[in-house]
Structure formats: structure tokens, C-alpha cells
Amino acid sequence: MGIDYRVLQEAAKWFAVLQSGSASRAEHQAWSAWLEQPEHARAWARIERISGQFQPLAADPVGRSAGGLLHSRRSNRRQALKMLSVLCGGTALSLASGHIPWRQWTADERTAVGEVRDVKLADGSNLWLNTDTALDIAFDTKTRRLTLYRGELLIEAPASRRARPLLVTSREGRLYSEQAARFSVRQDDGRTRVSVFAGIVDIQLDGFGITSIPAGQQTAFGSRGVEPLEAASAEHQAWTTGVLLADNQRLEDFLAELSRYRHGYLGCDPRIADLRVVGAFPLADTERVLDALAATLPVRIERRMAWWVSLEPAIERAGV
């Protein structure tokens, strides 16, 4: 049974609105109302199926990276020949079952929303990528360079045997370390946050010179320079072990952190925004974290749809 073109158009528009991650409550309610019609629900089921097709890829780093090819147009024979190393015989994939050719360290690393992954680097460093992170790794004979485009990393670097400094570039500036160090870098909107847990890290900021951050300190920097140093908080390294730490955090802020690890909207009613959250929560299962909040705070979870979760006061005032 076909679906009316007009309905498909509406469904596609709703998809674009909801997928933005910034849909308003009013928009969500309008969508819910729209969904009540059976034909609309059928169109939406199609959308979920299409969107679901991406799941096995999005969850697989190799698939995600190979998916880069899909951005390009289908190529003609000459391009195909240029690219393919093997044309005759069995499929190229049979090569993979044996050995994997080892390449130079020029990798493009990404994590999906909710994914935390660690990577062993060529110099023996351990690198962790937090949720929704994208970075480049470029090691050569002079420097070890990481470029953080999005998200958060934590690096544990040994002292360099060949005096190759470690450079981490964010949108706002550069971080520099020559000795053994352990520090995290987080790219926020217009601001880079850095927490140093071992060693010393220098911030190089155009127009502001160099600021050294010793172990146990953290700060942030942006277009207005480096903010005052403060004690490094454990939450900035707890995520590497899959733990979200909250040390007397406002509920609203805690939910903003938690929402980094899941798709869709996660928020709360302003009346409960200032409730305090204390504890260690498993990042791997954000639904369980929400259940834990509902069990310990006077809040209830309003699951309006898979992409839309709101925390509300546990007891609604009657008659409102």
C-alpha cells in the first residue's frame, strides 16, 4: 500500500527537524500529534527503517571510515581502475582474512556518539577518544601531532626517546608537551578545556604567549586567553574507564554531560534543574543512569520517544 507523497514530504520534514537535536518542546508536541494518524505512523516507520540501515555502519569504525567513499560520485572505469589494485580472480575481501598491511601513522580517528575507545599509538602512547570525537594523528620524525576537531581525548604519553614533542591542536590553540604526561583535551564551542594529571603541558595561544599547566591543574582557553587555573577534576579522566562522575553537580549540567553519550534530546524541567547529583554512573548504559536518577531524586522520566527524554518533577501539581 503506497503512502501519499504529501505525507512522505511531511515525514521527511519532521525527520530533519528532530534529527537536528535542537527541536523545541513545541515542535516535539506537534510531531507527536502528527504521528497519531495511522498513515503518518506508517511513513514514520519507514523513516526508522531507513535510518536504522546506517546502524551497523555507524557502530563499526571500519565501516564508518569506508563509508567516506560514499560521499563521492560513482566513478567511471578509469577511476575505478586507478583505485583498484586487484581486478581479476576472487573478491578483494578475501585478502583481508590473512594479514593486514601495516601503514604509516596517518590515521583519521572517529568515535560515534556513546562510543569510548582507546588507541595505542606508534610511540607507545595510550590515547582515549571520548564520545563523538574526531581527530587526526600525524607522527613524523620531528613531532607527534594530534589535531582535535571535535569531542574529547585523553593521552598518556611516555617521554619521547627521540625528543619529539607532543603537540595537540584544537580550534583555539595548541598544547605542547616534551616530557611524559597524562592530560585530557576537550573541544567545546569556542573553548578548549585541558586537565593535566601528570607532567606539564604548555598552552600556546596566539597573542597570549605560553601558559604552563602543571599536573593536578585544569583550565580552559579561547579567544579571550587562558582562564584561571583550578584543581583538575577526576571526571575528566573517569570517562576513560567508562564512568561518568558527578560531584555535587546540578542536575541540568549533569544531564548535559550525559546527553553527550546518547542521541537525541535529554533535558529537564527548570523546577528541578538545581537538584544535586552525586555518584559514579556507567556510561555504557545511559538508560540505566536515568533510572538511577529517578530512583534517587524526586524526578520521573518522561520518555516521549526514543530521541526525546525529559526529566520532570516526580509529583505534578494537580489541576495544572
Binding site: 512522505l8 519507514r46 569506508a66 560521499h71 601503514r103 574526531a134 571535535r150
Partner: protein, 171 residues
Amino acid sequence: MATEGMLRQQMLHRLYADHHGWLNGWLRRQLGCNQRAADLAQDTFVRVLSKDQDMAAIREPRAYLHTIAKGLLINHWRRRQIEQAYLDALALQPEPVVPSPESQALIVETLLQIDAMLMRLPTRVRSAFLMSQLHGMTYAAIAAELGVSERMVKKYMSQAMLHCLMLVEDD
């Protein structure tokens, strides 16, 4: 009905006898590989057979076969490109990983399906959709990447989804 089916069989047989050698030769020149050429020539005739078309109406059999074979050839190249891209991506993993053949095949098949689904979209629209669905990028990040406004990204997203919606059927 039975005679109609038999007639069809005869026409196909004729088509095969008259043009298989020519088609095979053309594919061999394109692919540089006898085995693959033979496979694709076979696939071409299977495709002709599965099309519910009146074979007597085919005026230019070679042009017809050529069109079908070319489509298969492009799919073949695309599959090889995608397999190659998958291998490259595997090789670039920081730790040597060897996924099971099943999971490799699943990923390559999924890539092919998505590629086929998005093939006819304008490049930017396709890219925006992939960045969102595959890489989980925000509209702001996609807008920055493509050099367009966030509103335009939203438009692209709905355009791409509408396109996909029209391609799929209900279960």
C-alpha cells in the same frame, strides 16, 4: 500461456546464440579478465530473462544487451571500490583487526545498499545526510564542513530522507 513461455525461451536462446560471443568479448576488454567477463555476460542474460519484456520488441539487441551489461559493470566496479575502501579502512585501524568474514560481508553489503539508495542525490545533499547518519555530526558541524547555513543542512536532510522514503516499500 505455455506456448508464450516457450516462445520466450526460444527468443532468449536466439539472443544468446547470436550475441553472447560479442558481449563476452566486449566485457573481456572492459575487465581484462576472462572469468569475470563470463560471469557478467551470464548475469546480463539472467537480467534479460527476469525482465518481463516482450523480446520480439527488442529492435537493437546489441544496444539493449550493452545497456544492461554496462549497468552491471558499473555496479561491479562500485562494489570493488567499496571493498577496496573497506580494506583500506581496515589497514588504517590503529590495532590490527580482522573482523569475521560474515561481519566484513555485512558491512560491505550495507555500504552498497546505502550507496545505491543515495546514488541519485546531489553531492552536497548526500554528504550532509551521510555526515549526520553515518558520522553522527551535528547540523552546525555539517554546515561548517559544507560552507552552508544550518537551515540549508536541514533542507538537505529532509530532501535526502524524502528521496529514500520514495525508494523503499513498506514491509
